[in-house]
Symmetry: C2
Subunit: 310 residues, 2 copies
């Protein structure tokens, strides 16, 4: 079974490393030249929960995938705005049997993916693993999972089981989701509050939780997300989700969310259009107002422009 | 005619200086001890549109106003949150003939002032003069006005005329407002966008105007303000106001609004509750939603808490 990691930045490298360590035929693919070259020349240096690993793992530049290679499983791990580019380069290397796994943050990535494969081929999910990249070829992976996955249509159930097995073999803690859409929307509540607010206020999660006014911001964003989630027949309890978010922020206190790292530290464009922006857009499609999420997305974009984010 | 400036910080000192220079019997009053002492000892040093002036102008500490002093006119110039404190100390020194002038930023200050004097005694207005304070006793005043003033009830018309005359005698460019409430709400549009957004994004007005997303933020805040303004029978044209705001930001480009200076530079609490916060509150009273203004007020408060603003 040939597995590709399409988009091998922080989280992609991490998943690839775990699969490789556990005997899978896995290849990393990425478009970032210096990262690709570093791994091709010196292997991947990855810190997994504090343990340093040095892996001679196969790596392709996305422009140099050999023509005749065909993958059985593709894990998609690009930033949301690069998903189309990644699907375009992987398309010649997949067929109607390939399982495409998307545990990326953000809403409705399947709308794009289903332009490349049939719905039953798509395994959608969310993960609580976190990762980072120190320099080309040097990354880290943290956490213990789980990776909750599910099928978008009943015909995809067997594919989901295959992926859960692979994830568990690779010690990535795969779990069959009870309610895939609920898991996705709950993750959107996490990202739509912590990521956006810590980036606007330039603070970590502990600081965010210290202020009743910031909690009020969390509450209002979440209130709208919970409302828009009903379009997917997801009915979250607002107060329960709110408590969950506050607890989570307390637990990971000193952490700066990935959006903060992207924009404030590295002046990179964020995934806001796939999180709060997507909430506002989906709401609009269904005549549900989400002015606060729209405003937050605009605010992050204004900040991107201000910092000349690339 | 005895005039008091109740709250003689930046703008109060500026108005007091212009009145004093033009022969009025004016006294500054303030509670900031070192500022009071500096002016009592060394006079007021004020830069008025680039020209340095040194004035031996009377100044009282608010705790030391002589018992028998009675003022004919009181200009109120505290920060909004100190208005009650100022009215409390000035109350023994006004009577039913005193004219009380309030050109402070913010909405509905008259609700508090009318607990101290009758409505016809109140002259309400807005001004485009700007001012700052460098150190105790050292301030500056910039601009050319106007100071638009009007009456809250017909019986106050003569008092308004008196104040317009005084302002013009003092070269402060007093103007009788065609439509007082419209002037106030238009100023709220200015303060509710430029002040709040430059403070959240930590930028000046030029930077704000450079980004379409920031302009979008300006538009959305203004849209709600224009809607809530209808409760005062004020009907602003949204697109016209928006154009006006963008032009204004262009004109004063490198300027950092006073809220930015208060919070970001000096870690002082802001007047947000009297601007965006007041818009949301007034909206709520009249069942008009203003979620974005509410969100902006929360965001500023979160930032105040984060910066330990006093």
């Amino acid at each position: 079974m040939k597995i590709a990691i399409a988009g091998s930045g922080a989280l992609g490298s991490g998943f690839g490393a775990k699969l490789f360590q556990n005997g899978y035929d896995v290849t990393l693919i990425d478009s970032w030249e210096s990262h690709v070259k570093a791994i091709q020349t010196n292997g991947l240096h990855i810190d997994i929960n504090g343990e340093h690993c040095h892996l001679e793992i196969p790596m392709y530049d996305s422009r140099d995938i050999p023509e005749d290679v065909l993958y059985d499983v593709v894990f998609l791990f690009p930033k949301s705005m690069q998903l189309k580019e990644v699907l375009d380069y992987i398309q010649p290397h997949i067929n109607q049997s390939t399982i495409v796994v998307c545990t990326m943050n953000g809403l409705k990535h399947e709308r794009l993916i289903e332009q490349y494969v049939e719905l039953p081929q798509i395994v959608r999910g969310v993960t609580t693993w976190t990762a980072g990249i120190e320099s080309p070829g040097y990354t880290h992976l943290m956490g213990s999972g789980p990776v909750e996955v599910g099928a978008l249509v009943t015909e995809g159930t067997d594919n989901v089981k295959t992926i859960v097995d692979i994830l568990n073999q690779a010690e990535l803690n795969g779990v069959l989701s009870d309610d895939l859409h609920q898991s996705i929307w709950k993750k959107i509540c996490v990202n739509g509050t912590a990521n956006a607010l810590c980036t606007i206020l330039e603070c970590n999660l502990a600081t965010l939780n210290q202020s009743d006014d910031a909690k009020n911001l969390i509450y209002k964003i979440t209130q709208e997300i919970v409302h828009v989630a009903t379009i997917d027949d997801v009915h979250l309890n607002l107060d329960e989700v709110f408590e969950y978010l506050i607890d989570l922020n307390d637990k990971v206190g000193p952490h700066y969310p990935s959006m903060y790292q992207d924009l404030i530290n590295n002046h990179r464009k964020t995934e806001i259009d796939y999180i709060n922006g997507a909430v506002a857009r989906l709401g609009m499609e269904h005549h549900i107002d989400a002015p606060v999420n729209h405003f937050v997305a605009n605010m992050i974009h204004a900040k991107e422009q201000q910092l000349d984010a690339q």
